[in-house]
Symmetry: none
Subunit: 406 residues, 2 copies
């Protein structure tokens, strides 16, 4: 029995063909009753994408499992060819990536809240009255100055929004198999962090010392005079896209989390990828010769979806459409347009709905669809498949997969 899980790796061929994966975050949607029962892809005027659609093959992707709504981590891992059930990114690690912390192997990241406690340390507000982000920055800097190291473990503190911040432990023999200190309700003391495995006992000790240390620094600074720690997580061990697919890959994204996710799979991340969609696309032209695989991430389709802004989401799709000719200047051999999940404007959240996907190449085949929409994708030649298999199609269209068997 052939191992299905590494068949693709064993069939890899190398050449100079360029693969461009254009992700409109959360682009998939459902018909909206206030907009003629159309989806944003249907509602948007997209003459450039339409033109490409006629010569493309389409399908719909299941990000994780039927009916399962993915977070951004699993959504993107699937697009990069990594089974999101096999590779998991802990909550603390994802937050750390989102804050541009340069994560090293062996690091343990956690999400923290500033909280309010009474004189006995009992939590009276798990979010410290949602202090301002400015206040959070000030407190993080205070703690960072006071606690730089515990038992040889470097402590990295980074403020996020309002009461939220992230801490990274950097050192030897760290392990993330730890319980949270967050008691999940007020009226209780923060819980002691406990090791779920012998290997994590040292890290638990560091975490508990960190809590005590923080308390010493801020216990008189109401309302934020305590902290809660959650989601301890290590950098997952993920083979790179070079290791697996022999792809020299690059990430063109503006949001830290997507840059961080790309780093996890070994992509080169361009720091200043552009301030708008046109600049982002232009960056591809600039780098065309330097890489094999280009991941271009457009964030605001998702943000508008999350805000319930149907028209806003449609407008971002139109912006992408308008800028598309830039991507076509130095024609990529394979151009894929898709999302990492659906974010229906009517739901204001990520959803389980299958993701529309379109692949264009000289040999992609074509469904004869007039447009790139969810329902056209239902009838596409790629059918409905799990996102983790998208990479197979991209590699195949780039002539980067050898034949299996004689």
């Amino acid at each position: 029995m052939i191992n299905k899980d590494n068949l693709i790796e064993r069939l890899i061929a190398q050449n100079n063909q360029k693969i461009l994966l254009l992700v409109m975050d959360g682009v998939g949607d459902i018909p909206h009753k206030d907009f003629g029962k159309k989806t944003p892809l249907e509602y948007a005027i997209t003459s450039n994408i339409d033109k490409l659609a006629r010569d493309s093959v389409m399908g719909r992707m299941i990000p994780v499992l039927p009916g399962v709504t993915p977070g951004s981590g699993p959504g993107h891992l699937g697009l990069f060819g990594y089974d999101p059930l096999q590779y998991q990114i802990g909550r603390g690690m994802l937050e750390a990536l989102g804050l541009s912390i340069d994560i090293k192997d062996g690091d343990i990241a956690m999400r923290c809240n500033f909280a309010s406690a009474d004189d006995n340390g009992i939590i009276t507000d798990r979010r410290a009255g949602r202090i301002s982000t400015d206040k959070c920055e000030e407190l993080c800097s205070l703690i960072g100055d006071a606690i730089k190291e515990i038992d040889g473990v470097q402590i990295i503190i980074r403020p996020s929004l309002q009461h939220r911040f992230v801490v990274v432990f950097r050192g030897k023999n760290l392990c993330d198999m730890l319980t949270d200190s967050d008691p999940l309700s007020e009226g209780k003391e923060p819980l002691e962090v406990r090791a779920l495995d012998e290997k994590a006992e040292f890290t638990a000790k560091v975490a508990n010392q960190f809590y005590q240390g923080v308390r010493r620094v801020i216990k008189d600074l109401k309302p934020a005079n305590s902290i809660l720690m959650r989601g301890f997580s290590a950098r997952p061990r993920i083979p790179t896209m070079m290791d697996r697919f022999k792809l020299n890959s690059v990430c063109l994204a503006t949001y830290p989390m997507y840059k961080g996710l790309s780093k996890l799979v070994g992509m080169t991340v361009i720091d200043e990828a552009g301030n708008n969609i046109e600049e982002l696309f232009q960056k591809y032209n600039d780098l065309h010769n330097k890489y094999d695989f280009f991941f271009i991430h457009v964030k605001y389709t998702d943000s508008n979806g999350e805000d319930g802004n149907f028209v806003g989401k449609s407008k971002i799709i139109e912006e992408v459409d308008k800028a598309l000719p830039i991507l076509l200047e130095k024609k990529p051999n394979v151009l894929c347009i898709t999302g990492d999940h659906s974010t229906p404007a009517a739901m204001k959240s990520h959803s389980w709905h299958h993701i529309p996907v379109m692949i264009n190449s000289d040999y992609c085949g074509a469904d004869g669809a007039a447009r790139f929409t969810e329902n056209q994708c239902n009838n596409g030649g790629l059918g409905t498949f799990e996102s983790k298999h998208l990479i197979n199609y991209l590699l195949a269209n780039a002539m980067r997969l050898n034949k299996y068997g004689a």
Copy 2:
């Protein structure tokens, strides 16, 4: 690696949303040459279903594996979210359920035939000339009066149609790993029942004593003076829908087998669910507030298919359509219309053809299909998927699944 098999259970959220699964048994079909190459779903006039279809998402389901025709057991287990390859219901157990025997944990059920034997016990007719059902009832009662218990094992006997009956052993230390006594051809004596495992030796002894006991009672009563035993089976150990999906579920069915199947997965079974489709649907209205998940079973689409009665099958679909507004009075949050398998009238049997399925909810998405038919379902947003994943979509549409990953 996340265990794919229990991911759904780990993502379950609870709320008050109502899921209604309306199963038209065997509804899927193929075009019939005598009826304008239409299927019964295409041939039937279904204005209410059509109206719902326009705002629904559709797809086609594979009951077990591509090309595999399921029995009613695997067909329904799939719909309830149970992998029919993981959970198997033995033939004897299924027959027992079909005869409304209230099965307990530890029971062993078997299918029996009355047979004709010569003076040496050699079988001369494996079906005893297909004696009447009345005769069968008479014989079962005779045996039941004579043999109530063997070595502490209670013997439950229940007549079925013609020469068929079911026996259940109830007691301690029973095991179903037994060979059949049916020699499968005439001119042979019934085989001794043998244990396939040490644990089953006691049960084999009971089975062989049962055969001897029956012979003593009926050996002079020609033509039915012997018996054959087949399909020894225990109640499968199946976690309930409450355990797995936190669904308080109820079965509205008229046929015993479907009630029995529902009991196996922990559904409450309503004894008098209604004498016709309208009453069945009205029962949902009566119970709307009491349960989360309603399984409504309409039998006669399948029976007509089995009889090759194309028009009859279409008429049942029209009856369902006519009664549909009753189901919509107390709008269920999620309404799914489907079958457990296909039963093409032209084939007069269950078949492997994918099952048409349609899901309606506020956030289902919609394919813009004009009708609910096999070919419209081919273009649906759900694509083609295994029946066992239907529950994922039903839970997702009821907002009963949390997001996976951050």
